[in-house]
Amino acid sequence: MKKKITCIECPQGCQLEVDVENGYVVKVTGNKCDKGTDYAKQEIENPMRVLTSTVQSDGLELKMVPVRTDKTIPKSQVLKAMAEVQKIKLTQPVKVGEVIMKNILGTEANLIATRPAAKRSFPS
């Protein structure tokens, strides 16, 4: 099977043509350098992404606290991980980098806060 993907390792954005057999990359053409081959392998065989989103809060100064996974997770798990993120309601203050959910969906990635949120000092 042939697949067309765009290499994103540099702004050149080479259009790669990838021969795939049983889910594995056997040949890459269209790349202007070796990074293109590695990128195609990773993207076709095991695409990974960092998930960034927000979680709701209650009693904190921010209504929404931004979060991300501290490592990449399989692309196929992104929407499932998102469903978990949407269930969270933060009630305790957080600092940047603080873990909000450990080992999300067994991916070994933790969900961490990316912005500090203190207790709300006035009712609103």
């Binding site: 994103i8 702004p11 954005g13 927000t54 500090p116």
Partner: protein, 299 residues
């Protein structure tokens, strides 16, 4: 913040940082995606994390006084500025002034989309603020006009939050955004991107109901036989930014690039529209140093 820290490092000991919002960090706070800091911090950070690095530096420098919820409403050529903060109006004269007032978004009016004027049309950055800061999802079925980075990022953001993004419509032949965003925000979710297309009409009574899309040729003439409809309750406009420079214009500057007011410096997106925050930081550091040098020359 980078300019303030740089001015401080260059020996300026009395710095006031005025921020219109309730928090430091500006637009970075709503840019919760990654892609910031690869050059400056050699790490890939989200917008809030990038801002937080500078906020922490500022907090450790007592000579930089921060005034939040402070909106400057007047500026004269002698650097007298007037600002409001809760319960107070302040007038003061700065010996040197660094403007880092950022950008605002181009609106629908600037891209001439014909049709009705229903609710449901947002600049992409405003929708970003609604979702990431306020926690409201503006709609469930979305068409995005313009393939600038904010539009692409919002295509993914809406999808993650459970909305259906019907398409991104770009009148040019190629994306105005980074390839990486085309791949990870659109291709990952199989969102179609139509080049050389535009919205022909926008339909809906109270709320947007649909748009009619048409292909255009190299001279932007419509090809009527290519028309098709897309249903949607939300249209995002992502067609670029314009520097926000009303204050220095008020002070008499006509061209921000060769700004000719002694002691006034402009940096960040209000100087020119950057696509990487790392370069904003680099140039803002320069502005901070230049302001410090100017002050020394006046002593």
């Amino acid at each position: 913040m980078a300019a303030a820290v740089a001015a401080h490092e260059a020996g300026v000991k009395d710095i006031l940082l005025l921020e219109r919002d309730q928090y430091l960090g500006g637009i970075l706070n709503q840019c919760i995606h990654q892609g910031f800091g690869l050059h400056h911090f050699k790490e890939e950070l989200t917008g809030p994390e990038y801002a937080d690095r500078f906020i922490k530096q500022i907090e450790n420098l007592p000579q930089i006084e921060v005034s939040l919820s402070s909106m400057v409403v007047r500026l004269t050529k002698d650097r007298v500025l007037t600002y409001f903060k809760p319960g107070e109006m302040v007038e003061l004269k700065a010996k040197a002034l660094i403007m880092a007032t950022g950008c605002r978004e181009r609106t629908r009016e600037m891209v001439h989309i014909p049709g009705a004027r229903p609710a449901g049309i947002y600049p992409a950055g405003l929708a970003q603020k609604m979702i990431n800061i306020e926690g409201w999802l503006p709609g469930k079925e979305v068409v995005i006009v313009g393939s600038g980075d904010i539009g692409l990022i919002m295509a993914r953001r809406f999808t993650l939050e459970g909305a259906k993004v019907q398409a991104v419509i770009e009148i040019q032949k190629e994306s105005r955004g980074l390839i990486r965003n085309v791949v990870q925000c659109l291709e990952d979710f199989e969102i179609p991107l139509y080049f050389q297309h535009k919205i022909r009409t926008l339909k809906g009574k109270d709320r947007v109901e649909s748009v009619e899309v048409v292909e255009v040729d190299d001279n932007y003439n419509e090809k009527p036989e290519t028309r098709f409809g897309l249903s949607c309750d939300t249209v995002l406009i992502s067609v670029g930014l314009i520097p926000e420079n009303e204050l220095i214009e008020m002070a008499g500057v006509t061209d921000v690039i060769k700004i000719d007011l002694p002691g006034v410096f402009v940096c960040g997106n209000s100087y020119k529209v950057y696509d990487l925050v790392d370069w904003v930081t680099r140039d803002s550091v320069k502005a901070g140093k230049m302001a410090a040098e100017y002050l020394r020359s006046q002593m």
